[in-house]
Amino acid sequence: MAEEKKKRTINRLKTMYPLRALVDGMYEKAVEASQAGKPVAWCMVNWWGGDVILRTMDVAAIYPEDYGAVCAAFGAAPDYLSRSDSDGFPTHMCGYARNCLGYAAKMQDLGEIPPRAPMKGMPKPTLLLGSGYFCDTRYKWFQALGRYMDAPLWVLEMPHPGVKESRQDGARARDINLLVAELRNFVAFVEKLLGKKMDWDRLGELVDDAIEMNRAWHEVNELRKAEPCPMHSRDFWSSMPASLYMAADPKVTAGLYRNMYDEVKSMAASRTGAIAEEKYRLAFAELPPWHSLGFFNQLAERGWNFVTESWAYHPPRPIDLSNISDPLERIANLTYQYFSGYFEDAFESKDWWGYFAHPYVEMVREYQCDGIVLHPLLTCRTATNHLMVVQDQLMKRLKVPSLIIEGDIVDLNLFDPMDALRKAETFEETMNHFRKVRADEGLLW
């Protein structure tokens, strides 16, 4: 397996480690909080809506989605998965969810955090924060948790921007209103649950910090357009949770992203790449196989540099919200920007396929990729059902080929590195071919 040879073929950024540490800290803080009798929330990633509110109310928030990746990386997942299978949850369902349900079942049996749980484990939650956006799992999963715990659950309702219907007159205002109303009701829900009032000024500050944090993170990723690319996707995945899950005080996180900006910038200046010899620049679509990340080292040895990833894990494009006074409205607009910002040009050109593929086409063009690796997740519909369209559009519009490697985020039995490497070798020939084709058609790279 990939992990066995510990070759340092990818130079990891020094400034990445403190960001990754924030996420470890997130879990430790939650355990401490729960031991001190303080409230803890299990959250679905909700794009700085619910979690900024929880942070203001001093609720320690942790993310079972991220914990699924952690368990996979630490090899703890198989145990939890088989428990959820035993309890009758169909095995084709989300690996993160099955991991979490199995974990919760074991925690219920033991009456405490299961021994050997990675990152000291996820403590029993005071409340659950689900979300209506992206996939059904994101609320069905937490509803199913009722089998193992009686924590109250709020499902944060979200609008659906990014599609042509969201461009009808008045649609944007309507959607923002829904978000604001939902957030306001959620605040009332938490206030009642904790018997304390929301400090609106503090919320305002945190929201601004969150906006700033995302801006800083966005700017880091802009630097990756440099050739050779100074920052590999592995560093992106290690640094992403800090902002996506708001793992710490956003002010602190923003600072760390700025440090990362400096490091990446100086590397770009000295034309230092993330890998020794950048033969191919690739994008990666959807989540990686967390249990087999060493696989990227073997690709790096072949000169594959991964320079960008799916928009959905990137911060929203920077947006100025300073003219909006209500913090909830600022959150709503930031979230709305995340859901629609990557499609603006698609809307202008009335490319309604944009909702799926447009951001990929843009990123592959901007980052001058030779190819994209599509990683269909056998237990995740959301991360998978748009990939064929992406493959199509990249070929039609940019003559950029896709390599499909089936796998899963948690279940390592579904991923076969040997097979993937065999495919990769063949794919190099394909990338070479389309380099020529693009040159002939006068495409940029």
């Binding site: 089936e406 097979d419 065999r422 495919k423 070798e425 063949t426 394909t430 070479n432 389309f434």
Partner: protein
């Protein structure tokens, strides 16, 4: 004159080809058995015998296939996808799509005029849509794989076979037989199911003419016919479909190597 060797260690059969100045000289097949190393050695021996050459005569050897890692005497390894594309290009320069039906899995490969792979899709990691499916059914019906095609062509109404798993397909075949359904209809059913899988794979890479078939599946007229029906095109069939990949490996062996 220069001789080059291509060794394709497949999961069922191992095939070897020797080329002389870029042209086909000799080929040889041995069952892979359960030890790829031994298979490779046997194959080389046989190859050299049939071509009347000695190991020293071989300038460069490329190994491919499932067991390519176990060919001690190879100078280089290449994926079967690349080799298959190269081989077919040499046999049929006009081919842009090749359907490679191997013992364990199927792949559809798009290639350009120089035989480079421009797109490819491999059947998912179970025996669905593979030659193995055919073997298993041949077992149930206790008939030789080679008699498969002719028999299947007799069928007037193929049974619908919508299952993936080859072994599960076996049980389906068993119960059909039990229902007294003629063998040819069952065979035609298997061929239809395979053809469906393959046409789905083909849609994923996009069919561009000309189209050829390679691998063990190229020996089965019944399969070829149903693929042709499914895709609505005529397939080019090489004389030695199973050796195409080994041939391609030998051609790659002759390609100039980057220093």
């Amino acid at each position: 004159m220069a001789y080059f060797m291509g060794i394709d260690i497949g999961s069922g059969t191992s095939k070897g080809v020797i080329t002389k100045d870029g042209e086909f000289l000799a080929h040889h097949l041995v069952p892979s058995g359960i030890n790829y190393r031994e298979a490779a050695e046997k194959l080389r021996k046989g190859l050299l015998t049939v071509s009347g050459l000695s190991p020293q005569d071989i300038t460069f050897t490329v190994a491919t296939g499932q067991g390519s890692g176990n060919v001690s005497f190879s100078d280089e390894q290449a994926t079967d996808t690349r080799c298959c594309a190269r081989g077919i290009k040499h046999l049929f320069p006009s081919v842009r799509t090749v359907i490679d039906v191997q013992a364990q899995s199927s792949q559809v490969i798009r290639l350009n005029e120089s035989g480079q792979v421009t797109n490819f899709a491999v059947s998912e990691r179970c025996a669905a849509g593979s030659g193995r499916f055919l073997e298993v059914i041949a077992n149930v019906l206790q008939i030789e794989l080679k008699d498969f095609g002719p028999l299947s062509l007799k069928s007037s109404n193929p049974v619908t076979f919508s299952t993936g798993c080859a072994v599960f397909g076996e049980s389906e075949a068993v119960s059909r037989v039990a229902e007294g359904i003629p063998k040819e209809d069952i065979l035609a059913g298997v061929h239809k199911a395979l053809a469906n899988k393959i046409s789905a794979l083909t849609d994923r890479v996009g069919l561009k003419m000309d189209c050829a078939i390679s691998g063990g599946g190229g020996l089965d007229i019944g399969l070829i016919k149903s693929i042709e029906e499914e895709l609505g095109v005529k397939l080019l069939v090489p004389a030695q479909p199973r050796s195409v990949t080994a041939f391609g490996a030998a051609l790659i062996a002759a390609e100039p190597k980057p220093a």
